[in-house]
Amino acid sequence: MSLASPIKKEQESFHIPKQQKTQRVMKLAEAPKQIKPILEVQDLAVSFSQYTEGLRQKELEVITNLNLSIHPGEVLAVVGSSGSGKSLLAHAILGILPSNATVTGSISYKGENLTSKEQAALRGQEIALVPQSVNYLDPLMKVGKQVRTAVKQGDAIKAQREVFARYQLQPQVENLFPFQLSGGMARRVLVSTAVVSGAELIIADEPTPGLDAEVVKEALNCFRELADKGVAIMLITHDIETALSIADRIAVFYAGTTVEVAPAKDFTGKGEALRHPYTKALWRALPQNDFLPIPGFQPLPNALPTGCLFEPRCQQAAPQCAMVQPKTRMVRNGMVRCNHAT
């Protein structure tokens, strides 16, 4: 308790008032320097014990050397293909990995190292998850009631009605059961749950899969609004377009690690401003850009290269790239893990 209160005060002074919304891009480009991160992940590794053949269990490293930080009032998008470990990152932060997982490295929240006990205490209170699947809603409880149970202080009913009104959910929706909702409505209910919880960090795991542009925009705007009020948002997605529409910075995942963390404005043109060859390739492969694939595939966790994880597919690869994994470094106000980045 004694620890939390001074930090909380500090935190409040970082709130970006609503009037400054228009200046947010400028503000946030500088933000990382001034503001202390709310969440910092250092050298995170997650491994699973798996049965290989017969009776032996083997440790399988799914996330390696992952570094990441997120600040209050910021939307950080985590972009990566399936199997890159981005959902596991969310589960590691919340402490909800399955029991055969082992975590090493450090995750600190408001400057304090997170233990599994604290994770359990913060989960749903200060850190909220907007899950990937609508199945996370209780199928037997009316959605209004579910949202109300997330309210920590004040009038729960009032908070729930306000949040529903804000996300254009009709008042009668609160009396519906999850199976009666359309995909878009269910998404908004899930977001509402995170909003009323008063969380300071919201982790949204693939919140808009397969939804059409209108619904996606609507859901994402909810997040942007929250961020403008000082909440930190981590948006996990495989879709760069989704990420770009609201994110301030974008962290690119490849084979279980971050290869680049870049300001969103760098994703433009032919990707000249980007740092890592994988990010550039990803950007160019978009249908609205060149739609040009690069050959090869992301290495599987049980067959990771010893050197740079992207080396087998990289055109710039030099002998040294195959030897050791490059260290992360700062290039032009962004983080990159590549020997060639300039």
Partner: protein, 290 residues
């Protein structure tokens, strides 16, 4: 307020204790259960009937090296009676459990594939059997059939299938609507081909786990119904008979009469229960690697 070094490792595997993983534990419990089974069957075959004939000279002996479980009021060796009783229970249990699983498989698959009417009927039957306590319906069936081995086997087989049938019904329904089954149909595969290649392989583990989990229940219920006097006849050396007879002598201080047979029954049932649970966890794709 304590200072916290942010670089310290968050969660480390604790000091390594040579702990067996689930697959190894499953092997251990399988071996244990198999040895137990073998010992009981061999014991049942090898121990001559002489040991359980009446011998009034050695009545009411407490456990000793010669008679490890003691002897009863007629001078019968309790160890031999227990083994004989377990052999009988095993036979009854395995037969009943096997029939029960077959019933569950047949009804579960019929419910899932033969249309709404049959599904409604079978689901109603499942609910009916689940709503009445096993023991009550078991007693009724066994009593109607006049008790004996036949009564108990039929009774146990007819009362234990519903929960497994429900699992199988749900599994088959889910598989039938699975995308990969639809794709197989679009490739022109026949229904029988899809059933044997796509659907049955998913049911085999359910079948075996069901069998292993039902077996201890069957044994326990056989003993219970016999104990209550509706099951096997008093001439048969069943565990249930031994226990009910021993009750009369407990007050005279002859604790071994009920203790050892009861304990033996408990160990056998529990070891199969553990084996079944382990197998059950291993075939669950979400928890198989824990």
């Amino acid at each position: 307020m304590k200072s916290i070094d942010p670089t310290i490792v968050k969660k480390k595997t604790l000091i390594y204790i040579p702990k067996l993983n689930r697959r190894q534990r499953t092997i251990v419990s399988t071996v244990f259960a198999a040895m137990l089974l073998l010992a009981i069957i061999l014991g049942g075959l090898l121990i001559s009937n002489e040991r359980i004939t009446t011998n009034l000279e050695i009545r009411n002996l407490s456990p000793s090296l010669e008679h490890p479980f003691g002897t009863d009021w007629l001078g019968r060796d309790m160890f031999a009676r227990t083994i004989k009783g377990l052999t009988l229970s095993l036979g009854v249990g395995i037969t009943a459990a096997a029939f029960s699983v077959l019933i569950a498989l047949a009804l579960g698959m019929l419910a899932a594939t033969m249309g709404k009417r049959i599904d409604a009927l079978i689901s109603w039957l499942i609910d009916l059997f689940l709503s009445v306590p096993h023991l009550v319906s078991l007693i009724l069936i066994a009593f109607t059939l006049g008790g004996g081995v036949k009564g108990v086997v039929v009774g146990v087989a007819l009362t234990h299938w519903p929960s497994l049938a429900r699992v199988i019904r749900a599994e088959v329904m889910q598989l039938r609507s699975a995308e990969f089954v639809g794709i197989s149909r679009q490739f022109g595969k026949a229904s029988w081909w899809i059933a044997t290649r796509h659907i049955f392989p998913h049911l085999i583990p359910q079948f075996f786990v069901g069998l292993v989990l039902l077996f201890p229940h069957a044994v326990l219920h056989e003993a219970a119904v016999t104990f209550l006097g509706f099951g096997l006849s008093p001439q048969q050396p069943a565990i249930g008979i031994i226990l009910s007879e021993s009750m009369k002598y407990l007050s005279t201080g002859m604790w071994w009469l009920a203790f050892f047979p009861g304990l033996a029954l408990l160990i056998m049932v529990r070891s199969f229960d553990i084996l079944g649970d382990n197998l059950h966890m291993l075939i669950d794709p979400h928890r198989g690697h824990e």
